[in-house]
Amino acid sequence: MNLLPDTYHIQQTFSAFCRTGEKVKLPGVAPDRLKHYRRLVFNMINDTMENAFPIAYNNIPARKWKSMVKDFFSHHACQSYQVWKLPLEFYTYAVEHNWEEVYELPYLHDLLAFEWAEMEVYNMEDIPAEPYALAGDWLETPLVLNPEHRLLSFSYPVHLVAKPKALLANKGIYFVLLYRHPETGNVEFMDLSPWLAFLTEQLVLGITVKDILDYAPQLHITDTDTLEQDTLNFLKQMQQQHFVLGFQL
């Protein structure tokens, strides 16, 4: 490296100021001009997070939100060279630093995870599906699912309600399927029962519906009279909605 330690240090000091806003002394720098760099850099990060997490941004008091973004940008070394992926680092930082408790927002991690998943599924690289037939045996043939999806579980219904009071009042176990519509590219999401979440998880592994149904009693699902028909109705509906693509060849 040709850079002298002094120049290296000056660049570090300048960038540290942009990240933290804390006063620095730099030779030849006009302080009234320096502040604009902090403003521009911080606004860019803040705007990125506001756009990525619009529900969280609206739910969280402005003072807390600003504190979160400042904390994140000051202390976290942003790794993504693509700014659209930066919200994942924000979410990860929140979990690692236990923001649910720090900011007394018990649903925060679920909400950030849900909003990031929407963005991720919308932008993610195309994943080719396995070859499939449009018709087949629903029970015996492994199904081919739309590979551009995420199956998430939450303790708060962040995919169903936005208001903090309603979220807190409905703590429970929730499962959400998000997938990218192959034609429109839009992200569709739906609330799943625990059984349907289990079913989806197993189908992804290539297990047949029949084998999954056989496992139902072990999940303490005793009301099996209509389970098979309800399950098949769900899968047929999901075929119409382009999540179930077809039957393995």
């Binding site: 490296m1 040709n2 850079l3 002298l4 002094d6 120049t7 290296y8 000056i10 660049q11 570090q12 300048f14 960038s15 540290a16 942009c18 990240r19 730099l26 030779p27 030849g28 720098v29 006009a30 001009r33 320096l34 604009h36 760099y37 521009l40 850099v41 860019m44 990060i45 990125t48 976290h76 070394a77 942003c78 790794q79 993504s80 060279y81 693509q82 700014v83 659209w84 930066l86 919308y122 932008n123 993610m124 690289e125 195309d126 994943i127 551009e148 990218r180 429109t184 590219g185 839009n186």
Partner: protein, 275 residues
């Protein structure tokens, strides 16, 4: 050739080509790498219609740290996949202490920085197997400078062998902010190395400070400086940048037409004189 920066906000209008018709488009690879779905389809449609130039954001040529080889691999593959005719970047840094800052920070105008950057530019050019076109960035304060800005740029070009992206608005902004003569500055540059021109709008935020926003129309004094500059250059592609406050397409097309008319006037005249 006069092109426009490709933005998602007017992607369909560009593909449609009814109200805006640039000669080429430019976009940042970082905004389009590793994506799929709807926007990948849009990208393919627009690339089929227009020649593509790319203007990077995250190379951070002025960083104290080593170049990111994984990033360069993606860039190389992307430029080849989309048959990108020219790849430019910024003479600044946007990463330090292993942290991206997503903005263009000013490099100290110092000889050790020149050597450091020249080496890195050569490494990038060798790896990408194409010339790197470096943009002279707008900056709001010098930082620990030991040489003039123009000497710094001249040395980087001389030692690295890179080409220059002359953002005429940046020169106007810098001349205003640092109180120098924009034409005198341009005259001192190695103008035979200019491979690309950018034009954009800006915002004056204080009596003595302009911020380079790309969010306003180009102002007349910048058009005047552009016209003057063309008299000293061979024909190169010219780009209109508009990243925020996107206006009606008729307004953008009006700016493109005005730029094209100036290019035609100045470069046609020059070619006739040469002939």
């Amino acid at each position: 050739m006069v092109g426009v920066g490709f933005r998602r906000e007017f992607a369909e209008e560009l593909i449609n080509g009814e109200h805006i018709r640039p000669d080429f488009i430019e976009f940042a690879p970082e905004n389009w790498m590793n994506i799929g779905g709807y926007w990948k389809k849009v990208l393919h449609r627009v690339v089929e219609k227009y020649p593509v130039l790319c203007h990077g954001l995250s190379l951070s040529i002025g960083s104290p740290e080593a170049l990111n080889k994984e990033f360069l691999q993606y860039i190389k593959a992307f430029l080849n996949e989309y048959k990108v005719q020219l790849y430019s970047e910024h003479l600044s840094y946007s990463k330090c202490d292993n942290a991206h800052l997503y903005d263009l920070l000013p490099i100290p105008f110092r000889m050790d920085a020149v050597k450091h950057i020249a080496t890195r530019i050569q490494q990038v050019q060798d790896y990408l197997q194409r010339p790197l076109v470096m943009e002279i960035v707008s900056y709001y304060t010098p930082v620990a400078a030991e040489m003039s800005e123009v000497d710094f740029i001249k040395e980087v070009v001389k030692q690295s062998g890179c080409q220059l992206l002359l953002d005429v608005n940046n020169i106007y902004v810098n001349a205003f902010n640092h109180q120098y003569d924009a034409k005198a500055f341009i005259t001192q540059l190695p103008l035979d190395k200019v491979a690309y021109i950018h034009m954009a709008g800006h915002e004056q935020v204080a009596p003595d400070l302009i911020i380079d926003t790309h969010g306003e129309p180009i102002i007349d004094p910048v058009y005047d400086l552009f016209e003057w500059t063309l008299q000293h250059l061979q024909p190169v592609p010219v780009l209109l940048e508009r990243d925020f406050n996107i206006p009606e397409m008729a307004e953008l097309q009006g700016e493109l037409s005005r730029l094209k008319s100036i290019c035609h006037k100045q470069w046609k005249l020059k070619n006739e004189l040469v002939a």
